[in-house]
């Protein structure tokens, strides 16, 4: 079938629809004049809560660092957690901005990408868990100090601390690499797929798969 034949079929179909297609006005008259809201508002609300929580956490950790300025180990631990809370805060603010920009009358690729970026928000937290592995001790130090008033650092052997810090410092490089690797752009790599699925679940995976399809659709000639 060539373009001319296809064109003929479509013309005939259009003519048929022109004759047979009807608009039923009675249900349309029930259309509420008050605009109906979709559930996007709920997602927006949950992301705003995230922004508030991470803002409080960032402020709290900032104050914690300032109050313990004389004790290096508390400052370092607090600083690490502060960086994590700031990454999460920036991610959540980004989500609020994306949600405000979602408008179905905009081009399809642009809107689908924004929607799927919102749908795959869980990946950020999965990645943060990964990045936390070498610095898990900072959570314990700050947590025990703040909630229990216990400074565990003073009970640790100096050599153990040095060895541990060196090892964890070395772990940072592969983990940052991993952080960048865990993206929808690398879903063709088997272990990336498996890892993301393990840490985020089916919904996020579905969104990431579609993001990958969108990229392909947009760029592949």
């Amino acid at each position: 079938m060539d373009a001319v034949e296809l064109n003929k079929i479509m013309k005939a179909y259009d003519n048929k629809l022109d004759k047979t297609l009807q608009l039923n006005l009675s249900p349309m008259n029930e259309l509420q004049l008050k605009k109906t809201q979709n559930s996007t508002k709920k997602i927006l609300r949950s992301r705003i809560y995230e922004v508030v929580i991470f803002s409080f956490l960032a402020i709290f950790l900032g104050r914690y660092i300032a109050n313990n300025w004389e004790q290096t180990h508390l400052v370092i631990s607090g600083f690490i957690l502060h960086v994590f809370s700031l990454i999460a805060l920036v991610g959540s603010i980004g989500q609020v901005v994306l949600l405000q920009q979602i408008d179905f009358s905009k081009p399809i690729i642009e809107i689908r990408k924004k929607i799927e970026l919102v749908n795959s928000h869980g990946l950020l937290f999965g990645k943060l868990i990964f990045l936390s592995v070498p610095v898990w001790w900072s959570y314990a130090i700050v947590g025990l100090d703040f909630f229990g008033g216990i400074d565990i650092y003073v009970y640790l052997d100096h050599d153990f601390v040095v060895r541990y810090l060196v090892l964890n410092f070395l772990l940072i490089i592969p983990l940052v690499w991993l952080f960048n690797k865990l993206s929808y752009k690398n879903l063709h790599i088997k272990w990336v797929r498996k890892t993301i699925r393990l840490f985020t679940g089916t919904e996020t995976m579905k969104a990431l798969d579609f993001l990958s399809d969108i990229e392909e659709f947009k760029n592949k000639y």
Partner: protein, 171 residues
């Protein structure tokens, strides 16, 4: 209801009436069963109504409608309920077909059915592209609706046409 709002609603209904074919074709391309078709149809009409105030006269009504209808249809197809209204505000079909007395159900129906089957096999984005191509939209318009370059539209369409040709050769 204030006269202004009433006028707005009438303007909206007249726009829907003029372009009802767009909704009908989008719905048929993204839904197989009748119940889903009715739901998607409602969803598109509600979303069009929600966006009606924001209509930008810079674009044609049909471009604006295609964007909304296709964006809604893709979310519906992907079962992303959080992006939809899902409001059973009526039970009847808003757009329906009546029997054409002079219609002889022959080759045309068969070809349309075949085209529909072919579109059904495509993924969400290619469905949109094919639909717009079959609507004889220019490459510029397709690029504007989808948000990809004109060259990309041309390349993808030539590939889809080739596949379509093979599909029709099978029968």
């Amino acid at each position: 209801m204030s006269p202004m709002k009433e006028n707005k609603k009438e303007e909206f209904l007249s726009t829907i009436d003029t372009h009802k074919k767009i909704i009908y074709k989008v719905v048929n391309s993204y839904c197989k069963n009748k119940e889903d078709r009715k739901d998607l149809e409602q969803e598109i009409i509600i979303q069009l109504w929600n966006s009606f105030d924001k209509y930008n006269a810079e674009y044609k009504y049909s471009t604006w409608m295609y964007r909304i209808a296709l964006n809604v249809a893709i979310s519906f197809y992907r079962k992303e309920k959080k992006w939809l209204v899902i409001n059973d505000f009526y039970n009847q079909d808003s757009i329906y077909t009546i029997e054409d007395q002079n219609d002889n159900k022959t080759e045309l129906d068969q070809n349309i059915k075949l085209l529909q089957e072919y579109i059904n096999k495509l993924n969400e984005l290619n469905k949109a592209l094919m639909l717009l191509y079959l609507e004889e939209k220019t490459y510029d318009e397709i690029a504007e609706i989808l948000g990809i370059s004109k060259t990309n539209v041309a390349t993808k369409i030539s590939r889809l046409k080739l596949k379509l040709k093979k599909e029709f050769k099978k029968i």
